[in-house]
């Protein structure tokens, strides 16, 4: 991460604009125990109160890190019932980082957020159909599989 991802100008800019960056040694207590850290890098999105909403384990190249952070931001909004704000960040992932591992989960979360906003189950079915067509091997296509029946 230090050799490739963190020096990337787009990463520096994105983090500067959107996040408070906080770095901790993998074995520094109490945080390493509080967050049950077993491998590095472990990258976690916390809300402004310090509550975890999303984590990723393992190396991420620049686009993957930015999309992971966007997903984390979306989950902060989703977890606090701010579905419109979650959707803004999920749409950014799908528009700008469709090749990253966050994209299939973003489609799933987008469908759920739209359903939460509208109570229209067709949003869930549409999410499944997009996952089936674009990311058929992803775990999120499997998780959305029951929605094909809606």
């Amino acid at each position: 991460m230090d050799a490739v991802t963190y020096p990337d100008a787009r990463v520096v800019s994105f983090i500067d604009e959107n996040m408070i960056p906080f770095r901790v040694l993998y074995d520094a207590e109490p945080l390493s125990k509080d967050f049950n850290i077993k491998w590095t890098p472990t990258i976690i999105t916390l809300d402004s109160g310090g509550l975890e909403h999303h984590r990723s384990v393992g190396f991420l190249e620049p686009d993957a890190l930015i999309s992971t952070i966007l997903l984390g931001i979306a989950k902060v909004f989703f977890d606090t019932n701010r579905f419109d704000d979650a959707l803004i960040n999920l749409e950014k992932i799908l528009k700008d980082y469709p090749e990253t591992n966050s994209a299939p989960e973003a489609i799933y979360m987008r469908g759920v957020s739209l359903y939460k906003n509208t109570d229209d189950p067709r949003e869930l079915k549409e999410a499944y159909e997009k996952l089936r067509d674009k990311y058929p091997e992803s775990e999120w296509a499997k998780k959305a599989y029951p929605y094909r029946l809606l």
Binding site: M1, F22, S48
Partner: protein, 33 residues
């Protein structure tokens, strides 16, 4: 804008800054070795 990430290293300071700037926190557990 800084040309590198300016990491915070203390939780209390991070929470204060996150609340004052209304931002979320990117927490990176790393191994320097």
């Amino acid at each position: 804008m800084e040309n590198k990430i300016k990491w915070e290293t203390e939780m209390a300071a991070v929470i204060d800054k996150a609340r004052s700037e209304n931002k979320n926190i990117l927490l990176d557990f790393f191994n320097p070795g």
